[in-house]
């Protein structure tokens, strides 16, 4: 799960860091617009 550490959100936080303290519901979008 390398990308959980590599890719960061708009606040500079990785998914691994976000989920370290509390669970995170991660929703993958197909497309938007």
């Amino acid at each position: 799960m390398e990308m959980m550490e590599t890719i960061r959100n708009q606040h500079g936080e990785s998914l691994r860091e976000m989920s370290a303290r509390q669970p995170v519901l991660v929703i993958f979008l197909r497309h938007y617009g």
Binding site: M3, I7, R8, P23, L25, V26, I27, L29
Partner: protein
């Protein structure tokens, strides 16, 4: 969107979106949906999608008429009935969506769409029994 996020986050679970556009493209979209502050990850190369096993649709799925009728119905509801209008799609319409509950870097629950039009029960999925 914001009200549903707040309902889920009241249970102790945060919410984050993964999308295939740039942050500049995503910012106005999430603002229009009423939740400009929600955590979101820009993944134009779909690296997180692949890491979570979210594949592209097969040829059979692409040409499955019943799938597309449901997808168009959902699009019509969003664009016309809910008045979000039409725009140029950002992302990969052939990449399957999905929803996962992640805790301490591990997937603890998951919902893998059978068709792009599936509507997961996000509130139930967000309940983490090990936290």
């Amino acid at each position: 969107m914001k009200a549903r996020r707040q309902t889920i986050e009241a249970t102790g679970t945060r919410v984050a979106f993964i999308h295939m556009g740039s942050e500049a493209e995503a910012r106005p979209f999430f603002a229009r949906w009423g939740d400009a502050e929600i955590a979101r990850f820009s993944d134009p190369e779909a690296r997180l999608y692949r890491e979570f096993g979210l594949r592209r649709m097969s040829i059979g799925e692409i040409f499955n008429l019943s799938n597309w009728l449901t997808v168009w119905k959902r699009g019509f509801e969003a664009a016309i009935i809910r008045r979000f209008g039409f725009g140029v799609p950002v992302g990969d319409p052939l990449r399957m969506p999905g929803a996962f509950l992640v805790h301490q870097g591990r997937i603890v629950r998951e919902y893998r769409h059978q068709t792009p039009a599936d509507r997961p029960d996000y509130e139930s999925l967000a309940v983490c029994e090990i936290s």
